[in-house]
């Protein structure tokens, strides 16, 4: 069993509106799985179904080889995008309460909370009320509450909102560490740079349909255009351009560089990157040579636009 979660042909309708139309995806064990899509695409509907907040109209969900059932709640940790805590309740009481709702015993919850509070160095907040904390502080508590019961499946919906870059980095590190310790993570966000940084797999949902999924590297490979951005220091710029044109498609490039010289986007034809490089080195001093790999952002925009 390589998939922790299998979503098979899930359909969900609200009245006459279809929120999820025959959506299937497999989430491999021990991976960070990016669930992407524009606003209103159906991500939250899917996440709520996985959390058993709502039920699908048809289709099935398999968690770790078993059909999803109420007792699985204890194996799932969910950090919703719309999140908060009881404002007038003390941090410690609140964390204990939420942990117990996830099926932990009080003593066990206390022990684990101590570990996390020490780790984040927030032990002093135990008897403070949430309303006395800043938003970032409350988010830290919220993160701890989500992961405390050591679930197999963690679902983070925009986990970095409300964090400053330093704390966002801290949380990102924690998420990756949880993955390394064996947890499977569904990660939903609009911040594409964090998708690049963290996701092993992605799935893209648009207008209630899944339009793309797979390993992030594979998808990138699929979407690669064989275009190289090059910078060349040469006295014979026009001549080099003409010669390049014979074997490659070229277009002007615009990138920031400290070096003067020719800046071009070069698209390979039947030749290889080595052919390009050896030509360039023969005609000047190469100061920039980068394959233009499509970013998650590019793939997102391109795929969504194509289906619209």
């Amino acid at each position: 069993m390589n998939n922790l979660l299998e979503i098979n042909n899930v359909v969900k309708q609200y009245g006459g509106y279809t929120a999820l139309n025959d959506v299937s995806m497999h989430i491999p064990k021990g991976s960070v799985f990016g669930l992407l899509g524009p606003n209103g695409a159906g991500k939250t509907s899917l996440i709520r179904i996985i959390n058993q907040i709502t039920m699908p109209d048809s289709g099935e969900i398999i968690l770790d080889g078993e059909k999803l059932a109420p007792h699985h709640i204890e194996h799932i940790g969910y950090l919703p995008e719309e999140r908060g805590l009881y404002k007038s309740m003390k941090v410690g009481d609140q964390a204990l309460y939420l942990a117990q709702l996830k099926g932990m015993s009080k003593s066990e919850a206390k022990k684990k909370l101590k570990y996390w509070f020490d780790k984040f160095d927030i032990g002093a907040w135990w008897n403070k009320k949430i309303e006395e904390l800043s938003k970032g502080m409350a988010q830290k508590v919220q993160f701890i509450v989500t992961v405390l019961h050591e679930p197999k499946l963690l679902i983070f919906d925009e986990p970095f909102s409300g964090f400053d870059p330093i704390n966002a980095q801290l949380i990102a590190k924690e998420i990756l560490q949880l993955r390394d310790e064996g947890a499977t993570i569904i990660f939903s966000t609009h911040r594409m740079e964090s998708v690049e940084e963290m996701c092993d797999y992605i799935a893209l949902i648009n207008k209630s349909n899944k339009i793309l999924d797979g390993k992030l590297d594979d998808i990138k490979r699929q979407y690669r255009t064989n275009v190289f951005e090059i910078g060349l220091k040469t006295d014979r710029a026009e001549e080099v351009k003409l010669q390049l044109k014979q074997n490659f498609d070229i277009s002007p490039a615009n990138f920031k560089s400290l070096n003067e010289g020719l800046k071009l986007n070069v698209k390979l034809k039947s030749n290889t990157a080595n052919d390009l490089l050896s030509f360039l080195t023969a005609n000047g001093e190469v100061n920039h040579f980068v394959e233009l790999v499509p970013s998650a952002n590019d793939i997102f925009i391109e795929t969504v636009n194509k289906t619209n």
């Binding site: 609200y14 009245g15 709520r48 959390n51 058993q52 907040i53 709502t54 039920m55 109209d57 109420p70 709640i73 799932i76 969910y78 919703p80 719309e82 999140r83 908060g84 805590l85 009881y86 404002k87 007038s88 309740m89 309460y97 939420l98 117990q100 709702l101 996830k102 919220q142 509450v145």
Partner: protein, 440 residues
Amino acid sequence: MNKLKLIIAREFIAKVKNKSFILMTFLSPVIAIAMIGLVAFLTKKNDDKVKEIVYVDESGLFLDQDFKSTKTIKYVDFTKLGVDETKKKVEEGNHYGMLHIPKIDSLETLANSIEFYSKDTPGLSVIGSLESKVNTKLRGLKMQKLGIDEQKIKLSRIKSDIKLFNFSGEKTSKLANGIKIAAGTVAGYLLMMFVIIYGAAVMRSVIEEKTSRIIEVIVSSVKPFQLMLGKIIGNASAGILQFFIWGILLFTLSTIASVVFGFDMGGMQQANLSPEQTQAIESMGNDKVQILIQELYKLPILKLFLLFIFYFLGGYMLYSSLFAAVGAAVDSETDTQQFMMPIMLPLMLGVYVGAFTVIDDPHGPISVIFSHIPFTSPIVMLMRVPFGVAWWEILVSMLILVLTFLAVVWLASKIYRVGILMYGKKTTYKDLWKWIRYSA
């Protein structure tokens, strides 16, 4: 089940730890007692002050004995001074007012020509007692004129007093009826107030979870229905705790108050009566007083209390599930208005039916019907119970209430389940209907 307990405990503690709950629990009995004490004190003070009323009788018909001074009003004859002079004197002095009886021969015309001057608008009781004095005098004069013997009329007067019995042969009295009305009304009003206060508390608690955005975190751990039920039960437990604290506090405080202020109701009453009247009461009223006391003890206090708890729980559960649904449907308390009306209406109706119909005819068709309609039955039935309601009737009413609660909580939970995750859009009744039909 375990999770439900956790939720109930949290809701209970959150409610009980709340400052306003603590304040309300311990302060309101004190305030209630203090208010009653204050009113009693002021009334007593008020009565202590003697009002001096002067009269100018130009007709010469009235004698000194017609204006007998009482403990609170002293009558002074200023006829010799004349109207204008007296007016001036009253205006400048400390007299309460001046009664002017002009010289008119026709008794009918005179009856409508008597005037009373005062600085402040006089109280109804003062005018009432003046009018009755004038009436008595003029009626007597009129009788003389018509040749009717006043003594004979007095002798012919008969006062009937129908004795009330029920078929088990117990003697009751009209006074006892008054006590039953009072007991039922107090219980009914209390119940309505509690349903509103605690129902609204449930609603606020739901709204708080929505606005603080913790709701989605919670419902990923527990079923929305469990959360709703836990909230309702948790708040009800806090309510029952409050009852008991109030009961204990009211009992101790009123005991202390009666000792400190020395309210001796019997003594106060007797003080206002003339010796003959006291004697009259002693001869014929002893029986009544005894019945009254008996009746108070006979009042099914325990039954009333147990039924109060049952109907409070039943009515509260029924209404608070509606309140919870309303809380789930809105984003803030200000948006609740449109949904509150249909909830408040049957409550108000219950109280009005209770206050007007039950008192008039506790076992008439309207009283019976409304004591079975579940939205009004908690109030109306409680008001009927002191008059004696057949046990099977109470049982049927309870059963209907329980069944309706189950149906309503089922509907409410459907609205609740969808509503708690809805933000931003203003909810309409059409939306609510749509939510009810959504599948889980």
